[in-house]
């Protein structure tokens, strides 16, 4: 049977590993203690728009992918088709895109056609405001003004292979997932669903898998990145009968 997946998402700003809060850079961390033995997959995102520092980001990706034998997904302001080959050479097995889907859907269709759906993860960043959910592009800066349902159909039409959800409000908090949003999305798509962020305690993973019906959950809390933390999370979940790779 297909297992549930536990992921870590590393956010880099100008090549430095950081913690984010509501999508803003918050705290600097060293990348010397990131484990890759117990984790199921790693997502690496460039959160800074500084094109001059892109090379530093790619160096960080390369460093992490060395001796890393689990899948790596890379993203953050991908707008250049030419960059894809470079990202692959740095170690990307998949890419994650958001703004490009709205800016240039034809490019996205081209990418999924050539590299396959399994290569592309579509990101959905959202906020809950005055009783409604709003979706965002440009790393939380601008509303897409497209409904959840239409967004999902767009993703499917363009051949996106997986979807990753991120709550902008809850980013950096330890308050647990927005289960309601996960349920809405899961109801309306056949695509595998990942959620990133706001994991405080291991119970939040459990809620996400059981109630939110998520296929994969990623934590971006830098204190969860060590092999020992992931082992502890998996032990907790295995005891509660969540199927995971040991």
């Amino acid at each position: 049977m297909l297992t549930k997946r536990i992921l870590i998402t590393l956010s880099f700003s100008e090549g430095i590993l950081i913690r984010t809060k509501k999508f803003q850079s918050d705290y600097r961390y060293t990348s010397n203690f990131i484990g890759n033995k117990n984790i199921d997959e790693i997502i690496i995102i460039d959160v800074s728009k500084n094109k001059k520092k892109r090379k530093k980001f790619l160096d960080s990706v390369r460093k992490i992918s060395q001796n890393c034998f689990v899948p790596i997904t890379v993203g953050g302001y991908i707008s250049d088709l030419d960059e894809i080959k470079i990202l692959q050479m740095c170690g990307a097995d998949k890419i994650i895109i958001n703004s490009l889907i709205y800016q240039n859907p034809d490019n996205v269709a081209e990418i999924t056609k050539k590299y396959g759906s399994q290569f592309v993860v579509g990101g959905i960043d959202y906020k809950f405001e005055k009783g409604k959910y709003y979706l965002f592009k440009d790393h939380g800066k601008n509303k897409t003004n497209i409904s959840i349902y239409n967004t999902l159909k767009l993703f499917e039409k363009l051949g996106v292979g997986e979807i990753m959800l991120q709550s902008i409000d809850k980013d950096g908090s330890l308050s647990g997932l927005d289960i309601e949003f996960s349920k809405i999305v899961k109801k309306n798509t056949f695509l595998p669903l990942i959620s990133n962020g706001s994991i405080g305690k291991w119970e939040h993973f459990y809620e996400g898998f059981k109630k939110g019906k998520l296929d994969a959950i990623s934590t971006n809390n830098i204190y969860h990145f060590t092999d020992s933390s992931i082992a502890a999370a998996k032990n907790y979940l295995l005891k509660k009968n969540i199927l995971l790779r040991r």
Partner: protein
């Protein structure tokens, strides 16, 4: 905040490498902006507000409040004021330092002699050792669990004994540079704030092969929802003009308060602050390694905020003392967590912020130099 351009607050000279610090206009950090606001405060009103809170918060038949108490100048200042000026009956609650010092022990005894009810809680030493070692390695901070304990113990005691009011000292993030989660973060303690900014993750997650969930009890915070109306933790510094130097001057007149036995605390120019735990030396040394400012910078910043020292004295102290680490305390710590001294230094090096450190002739050197600040506004390193 960009990491390769280090800015310094034009008032307190705290560098921008400090986590969660922000600079708005005029190159003034958020802590100094907060200080400016303090000048406009009507302290009479604040004191009145404090009195009203005390009146309506008494839930216990005998105790008026809990004071989380280390025995240091700040918490002793508060304990004294509450008992002898406000005529309250506070219960002092201490979460034991990881490696208690003789001076800390002495200062607590001196205060107790004045007449206080006091609970001293020592967590399981073996668990503390394992967590201290783990967090020293993984986070470059051997006191993460202690940070959880000093919040968890007083709050759980308050709930268990139905003593609703807890009086902490000051909200560090507001006063010294950091994030404020809520508008009233400098007034009321929020458990979310503690989790997100103090500790960083939930202590429940620390369960492992070595440590069972039961053994984590001292560090686990009460459930956010269940405990909401059962305690009210506030900061004394919100209601009274707060000055750590004045706190020290006040307390030495009331008790035989001893300072650092060596005459000066290694790593800084002061002798009266953070005296009760040998691990503090390691904590501040790692702060220097990670962010480029050590204990001397931290103390000098606070002194300069209160205009107690000049900028040139600041530069001198930082240059002389910031990189210092007490050899005795380092060895004590290494023996405690059972690692060798070379391994200790290896792990410290792994935490060096590559943006601010460079290797020169087999020695580590900071890329920015606080002394240069005297000449220009920023130190720009785009290497």
């Amino acid at each position: 905040m960009r990491q390769d351009i280090i800015k310094f607050c034009k008032n307190c000279l705290m560098p921008s490498s400090r986590p969660r610090i922000s600079f708005k206009n005029n190159n003034l950090c958020n802590a100094c902006e907060y200080l400016l606001l303090q000048k406009k405060i009507n302290w009479k009103d604040r004191k009145q507000e404090f009195l009203e809170i005390i009146k309506k918060s008494k839930t216990h038949e005998f105790y008026d409040c809990i004071v989380p108490w280390s025995g240091g100048k700040d918490s002793s200042f508060i304990a004294y004021k509450l008992k002898f000026d406000y005529n309250l009956n506070p219960l002092l609650v201490t979460f034991a330092p990881i490696l208690p010092t003789k001076v800390g022990h002495h200062n607590r005894n001196e205060m107790i002699k004045l007449g206080f009810d006091h609970i001293y809680f020592t967590p399981d030493h073996i668990v503390s050792k394992q967590l201290s070692k783990r967090f020293f390695i993984e986070r470059g901070n051997p006191k993460v669990h202690w940070d959880a304990g000093i919040k968890s113990l007083p709050i759980k005691t308050a709930i268990e004994k139905n003593i609703k009011l807890i009086v902490y000292a000051e909200h560090g993030e507001s006063h010294y540079g950091g994030l404020t989660l809520y508008k009233d973060s400098s007034k009321n303690l929020s458990l979310e704030d503690v989790l997100e900014n103090n500790i960083g993750d939930n202590p429940l997650n620390w369960e492992s092969d070595e440590i069972s969930k039961n053994q984590l009890y001292p560090y686990i915070l009460p459930d956010l929802n269940k405990s909401k109306n059962k305690f009210h933790a506030l900061f004394f510094a919100y209601f009274h003009k707060w000055n750590v130097i004045e706190n020290y001057n006040f307390i030495i007149n009331k008790i035989n308060f001893k300072t650092h036995p060596k005459g000066r605390t290694p790593g800084t120019f002061t002798n009266f602050d953070s005296l009760d735990d040998h691990v503090d030396q390691i904590y501040y040394y790692l702060q220097f390694i990670k962010f480029g400012f050590g204990r001397a910078s931290r103390d000098a910043s606070r002194h300069i905020q209160k205009k107690a020292i000049t900028k040139s004295e600041y530069f001198n102290y930082v240059k002389k003392y910031d990189h210092e680490l007490s050899k005795d305390d380092m060895i004590k710590f290494c023996q405690f967590i059972e690692i060798s001294v070379p391994d200790f230094h290896d792990i410290c090096d792994k935490h060096r912020n590559a943006e601010i450190w460079k290797r020169k002739k087999n020695k580590w050197k900071l890329k920015f130099n606080i002394n240069n600040h005297a000449k220009k506004s920023y130190y720009n390193n785009c290497g």
